[in-house]
Symmetry: C2
Subunit: 142 residues, 2 copies
């Protein structure tokens, strides 16, 4: 890992008031290197057994709490995470973008350019949050 990269990771952690540990650096680095979303299992696989399962879970939880990554709902039941854009404050996520799941490569991408369309509900419903997941075939798999 280049020294610049190293610095980037460390400062990202500090900005989000997370203490800097080896595990957190490695995991954050994975997210920076990867365009798509990552599930716990992906991380465990990529890191080998450098870290305990539980450490990875807790790291992901900490990242979510501090607004560094956000979770993405999936059909299969495992939680996937992706990096937040800068606007996500600590404990206050607002990802108004669409998530795209490729049926071929099974990767999940955040389509930051595409805003979730507004939706009109019948009278009496209060909208709090809208999640939109589109599945199909991604750019690289066409």
């Amino acid at each position: 890992m280049s020294a610049a990269r190293q610095q980037e990771v460390i400062s990202l952690l500090k900005v989000h008031s997370l203490s800097v540990t080896d595990g957190r650096k490695d995991i954050l680095l994975l997210f920076l290197k990867q365009k798509g979303a990552l599930a716990h299992a992906d991380i465990e696989k990529k890191l080998g057994d450098s870290y305990d399962r539980v450490t990875i879970y807790r790291t992901l939880q900490a990242f979510v709490d501090k607004g560094l990554i956000h979770s993405i709902p999936t059909k299969d039941n495992s939680i996937r995470y992706a990096l937040c854009k800068d606007e996500c404050a600590s404990g206050h996520h607002h990802d108004h973008h669409i998530h795209f799941v490729c049926k071929t490569c099974d990767n999940t991408y955040c389509l930051d350019e595409v805003a979730t369309p507004s939706v009109k509900l019948p009278k009496g419903y209060t909208i709090n949050q809208v999640e939109m997941v589109v599945s199909g075939v991604c750019l690289s798999c066409q």
Copy 2:
């Protein structure tokens, strides 16, 4: 259960080419009585221990396969199911409606009246399916 209801349940099963058993009748009845979606756990709770866990899983799977119910993605990871409208053919679901999760009562509803808005993706993406889950406060919880 009224005789009419009984007949309705049996014919629904037969129409979807499912053999008629006590478990299937009871579980289907739950869906007919309930407006919201049901998770495996809900069904297990409502039926007591009349049926084995596995039977319930397999029944739900059979219902999904035959186009009687559809699954709904949730944030917490457990799968919820709701009755399909008539248009759902066997093994060929097309639920173009929005799902609404109430933060207060934690129920999930299919808003059949509300179509999922169309979404425009960047060039190169093929859209296959769109899932939209809105969370907030429902009619009865206002």
